[in-house]
Every structure is written in structure tokens, then in C-alpha cells.
């Protein structure tokens, strides 16, 4: 992991509370990015895998402060993106006031293997950006 930016915006209109950016998310978990906060609504995930032109990566998004780096903790959200592209996953629930996933914390890993498992870091840097609502 490297160059993690966490911006707390506290936008009263959109209720987007956090923008989390990790410019080199890898197999070592980037932990406790928001601190423990009740009602974190994850609404958008952007994964930039343009530098790995032919290798897919899996972003693993944990609701916990310290998931294991060996992939032994079950992951609640896993998103694969093919090589050479940047993609956005937008997840909203029916009320549009909340989000597809609600957390009390946020930690990230990114490896080439699917699901919870895997410790193989991407060869080149992968950037992950997540927008989070304050649903409390």
C-alpha cells in the first residue's frame, strides 16, 4: 500500500462523507481507513487497473479494522476488473438514500486471486477510490 488519501467532505446535500483513495492497493491490507463509524454507506468503487495491461485484479473490501493479509478472513465485497482498464462499480439501494453495502469500518486489499483468498499483488500499481455516505 502507498499514498492513501482520506478526505472527509461532510457534504450536507449529498451526504458523501468520505473519499478514500489508495494509489497502490496491494496484498497487504490497508487498514482502518475510516475509523469505526456507524452507518458507512459505500456507494461507488473505482478501480484503475490500466497499468496491468493483461492481468485482472480483485479488489477486496472489508468491514473491519484489521483483516488478515493471508486471505483467511471472509470478504464481504469482491470486485474484479480486467487488465488495462479503469472501471466504476456503482451500488445503490432502492431508497437511493443509502447504499448497497453498509459498514462500520473499511479496509482494502487487492490481489490477482478471486474471493477471500490470495496474496499475489498486482505487478503494477492499482488505484482504488471509494465514495462513502454517512448514513448515521
Amino acid at each position: 500500500m502507498a499514498s492513501t488519501f482520506i478526505v472527509k467532505r461532510e457534504n450536507a446535500v449529498s451526504h458523501i462523507a468520505y473519499e478514500v483513495v489508495d494509489t497502490d492497493v496491494d496484498e497487504v491490507s490497508n487498514n482502518d481507513l475510516t475509523g469505526t463509524v456507524t452507518g458507512l454507506g459505500l456507494v461507488m468503487y473505482e478501480i484503475d487497473n490500466t497499468l496491468n495491461t493483461s492481468t485482472a485484479v480483485h479488489l477486496k473490501v472489508y468491514d473491519g479494522a484489521d483483516p488478515a493479509d493471508d486471505g483467511s478472513d471472509a470478504v464481504p465485497t469482491c470486485l474484479r476488473v480486467q487488465g488495462g482498464v479503469k472501471r466504476q462499480f456503482i451500488g445503490l439501494n432502492a431508497s437511493a438514500a443509502a447504499a448497497s453495502a453498509t459498514h462500520t469500518n473499511l479496509s482494502l486489499r487487492c490481489v490477482t486471486e478471486p474471493g477471500s483468498a490470495g496474496t499475489t499483488a498486482p505487478t503494477a500499481a492499482v488505484t482504488a477510490r471509494i465514495l462513502i455516505k454517512d448514513m448515521s
Binding site: D73, A74, T77, F89, A94, S95, P114, G115
Partner: protein, 122 residues
């Protein structure tokens, strides 16, 4: 569970996969019949418990042992729409199951999980 794949390639360039009841006890394998790109997944969950959709880029699926390529949540008693504007590709075929557990674990009782997937076949 009833699964349908509506081939609308001629009219709008996309197909819709519909499952009226995704279950945690059996996998649906290679519903796309080959490679392609998925753009949108809509889920309606009538169960009060959070459900995880396990989506695999594979023609066969050993549910509970194979790690999913995508794990997408749907809150309890709610509907959710996952959208990827430019789509994400699958090279083999889409197979899936659902669970009330994170990770690759399957099982748990799901009242009814209705799902639509918009894809474009290669």
C-alpha cells in the same frame, strides 16, 4: 428457481439474464453460454437478512469451494442495483449462487432473491 436468458442481440445488442429465485443450495452454471461483458445487476431481496451474490467467471461451479470473482451485497428486505458503466468482462461464462455469508461460503435460508443481469455476449 427459474432461470431465463433472453436473447435480444438483434434489437438492442444486449441479453438479460433473469432468475426468479437465486438459491444458496445450488449453483447456476454458465448461464451466458460463453464469454461477454456484464453491465448491470439488479437484485430484490425479500429476506430480512443481508444476502451475498457470488458471481463466477466459470463454466462450472463447485459452490462453497470455488472463490467468487465478484461478491455483491444486497441488504435485507431491499432492492439494489449494481452498475458498471463500461462493463466488466468474463472470459468463460457466468455462474452464480447466493449466500447469507461473506467469502466463498454458501448456505443460509434466503426467502426470495430475484435477479436480473444485463450482459453483452462476445
Amino acid at each position: 428457481m427459474a432461470t431465463y436468458a433472453s436473447n435480444q442481440t438483434t434489437s438492442i445488442g444486449a441479453d438479460i439474464i433473469y432468475d426468479s429465485g437465486v438459491v444458496s443450495t445450488a449453483a447456476v452454471e454458465n448461464v451466458t453460454g460463453g464469454s461477454g461483458t456484464w453491465y448491470t445487476i439488479f437484485m430484490k431481496n425479500t429476506d430480512a437478512e443481508l444476502v451475498y451474490l457470488h458471481l463466477h467467471d466459470a463454466t462450472t461451479l463447485d459452490a462453497g469451494n470455488d472463490e467468487p470473482n465478484w461478491i455483491l451485497q444486497c441488504p435485507g428486505s431491499d432492492s439494489v442495483c449494481w452498475t458498471v458503466p463500461d462493463g466488466v468482462t468474463f472470459s468463460n461464462g457466468l455462474s452464480y449462487t447466493a449466500s447469507t455469508s461473506a467469502g466463498k461460503t454458501v448456505g443460509g435460508t434466503i426467502a426470495t432473491l430475484t435477479m436480473w443481469i444485463v450482459i453483452k455476449r462476445d
